[in-house]
Amino acid sequence: MSARLDRAALTAMRDFERAALETFAPRVFCCSGTGCHATGSIPLIEALRQEAARQGGAVQVIETGCNGFCALGPVVIMQPGGVLYCKVRAQDAADVIASAGGRPVERLLYRDPDGNAVAGMDSIPFFALQRPWILRNKGRIDPENIGHAVAHEAYQGLAKALFDMTPERVVEEVRASGLRGRGGAGFPTGLKWKFAAASPGDVKYVLCNADEGDPGAFMDRSILESDPHAVLEGMLIAAVAIGSRHGYIYCRSEYPLAIHRLTVAIGQARELGLLGENILGSDFSFDLEIYQGAGAFVCGEETALMRSIEGRRGMPVPRPPFPAQQGLWGKPTVLNNVETFAGIGAIIRLGAACHAGVGTEGSTGTKVFALSGDVNNIGLVEVDMGTPLSVLVNDIGGGVPGKRKCKAVQLGGPSGGSIPAHLLDTPVDYEAITKAGAIMGSGGVIVMNDRTCMVDMARFFMDFIQDESCGKCTPCREGTRRQLEILTRICEGKGEPGDLRALEDLAAVITDASLCGLGQTASNPILSALRHFRGEFEAHIAEKRCPAKRCVALLKFEVDEERCRKCGLCFKACPAGAVEWAKKKTARIDREKCVQCLACYTACPFDCIE
């Protein structure tokens, strides 16, 4: 299939591949994302293939990208029927293959919290409450097979943009969809394209920001690993709209699998004439390359990212001029995030209304979130804009594990903030989330239980920010370091009465006097923690007490004798032999031997380590 396609041939290929996918039954889709790789999906796929061959070859095994249900990986989906198997091991391969088209393997089914087996994917709340739009192909195509993507309408939007629409019409369609940049700031995508299209110049660039640096965010990695062609198509359509011939995907080097799958996808697209000269037989030409980052959080900022592609230190520069006028190498440039590009193809193919009709008035469409932290169903989820956070955390996420309670939800990474549990009815909408003291950000949602100390979390984020500050603006470089010092002191029980005021004063200066988004939002974790959890800071400073019992320096490492149930779990957990315990005896900690590693504290189910 090395022939270059024109539009008719693309449609014929789609119909052929779709028919092949539909007639070739039964099929086993095995997740092969980074998460499932770590839990053993590579040997599993090998075993499934061998078993399929051994049992007659009637069952097709397809390796897919991230399915999203990472906590229960490796995940296998049987088609037809949609039966989902969790935590499948290589030794289960024979049973899995044998069950194709027959009775499901009971022991591998998902169990609901009451212990009942659930066979159908659609009956599991984790999947049933989502609306897969960006992730529509997750877990059902082989990302390294362009035929699968084409069968599911890939590049049809490009064909429409090339042959049925003018570039102005493409920009207008994206504007009408209400799509806002999914990287964090939420700038209207159509407007960005309009500015770049209007900028004079023969050379323009389309850049894809795949430098997903926010800790706790893995949406872009999963999209690239499961559906790379959706991203390529989005970039191609942007190139048609603004008149660009060249693009770059700036991807973190920490994502080797995503880079590999992108490389394969680009190669296949070139071979079919979907990239390169005269795409689909038109007079439009565009090609792109992957640029690997070298580990600097600030390079997620658009001007820093462009400096990095130019081979320099990734330091932001003042705007204006905006990248739409003078971006990479001083040329007009459009830069969008992976998730933004991944949604473009369908908007063009199906029309703006299908996107504009979903979500809320100011925030249309769906949003992909990476749900993690203290939550049962860790994974990748996609919901309509406007969905309350509580649905995300409690219904899709299955709530907090064990008997602990949700204390807060952190959104937006180091530029964001924490929303306390009593505000979980806040809808996911750019404005509503900002009002609650966080930001939408790129989509990391980290659930924290009642053992999380908010002072310690603020310290954690400041440690990150001061390390990642590029050093160009003094307020950010020096100010964040001073904030970290103050927070560290508070966590160590050396807080002073004026500390909170100092933190707030520093925050005001850093926010006002920094050049880029990193500095301007650097104090958000502190400000949001102070807004919702001021009492915790005051307890650390005035009473030298950590209410969540997390700050080691403020713990006494004593067993509360009244609450101790004499279970001995702390004794078993202690690596230093510092816990004295015998059956039916209250445990006691020998402070001389104690290394303050918190193993006993973590092990105790009754919260009795003070």
């Binding site: 990095s308 980290i446 690596p575």
Partner: protein, 159 residues
């Protein structure tokens, strides 16, 4: 007498080939550095100078880029590289305790290499595998859901 960490002639030849391939391509310095680090493991001064000469750039500029990005190292690494994810999800799930224990057990400081050269320990930015938190990567093996105990047990398997 060659200095302790001198590069082999073969490594130098490979680095030269990388430089020759990319010389003249605008913006290729970071790519060249990434490939050279794959060859040499880290950047001794002689390598920084050689790349600068080959790319026709000031040494200061090359050094500036090397020291800016966390991927690049100016120090040699141990036989095995332990990368411990310090993303938010891993932090919330107790990666600090894992780091503390590994540091004590193997006598290695975060960001450093242990005396025997067996391990380099590096706390790294979010690896995007939050579903497996806390995550530890040893060389190329990803280990999810590690505890202080299991992390040490895993590391015992690497000599």
């Amino acid at each position: 007498m060659a200095p302790l960490n001198a590069l082999t002639p073969d490594q130098l030849a490979q680095a030269d080939a990388v430089v020759a391939e990319h010389r003249g391509t605008p913006g290729s310095l970071i790519t060249v550095l990434r490939l050279c680090q794959d060859i040499a493991g880290y950047f001794p001064p002689e390598l920084v100078e050689r790349i600068a000469r080959g790319m026709n750039l000031p040494v200061a500029k090359v050094y500036g880029v090397v020291s800016f990005y966390s991927l690049f190292s100016l120090e040699p690494k141990g036989r095995h590289q332990i990368r411990v994810c310090t993303g938010t999800a891993c932090y919330v799930r107790g990666v600090r305790e894992v780091l503390d224990r590994v540091e004590r057990r193997f006598g290695v400081k975060a960001g450093g290499t242990c005396g025997s050269g067996r391990f380099s320990l590096e706390p790294v930015r979010c690896l995007g595998a939050c579903g497996l938190a806390p995550v530890m990567v040893v060389d190329r093996d990803v280990h999810g859901g590690v505890t202080p105990d299991s992390a040490c047990e895993i590391l015992e398997g690497y000599e």
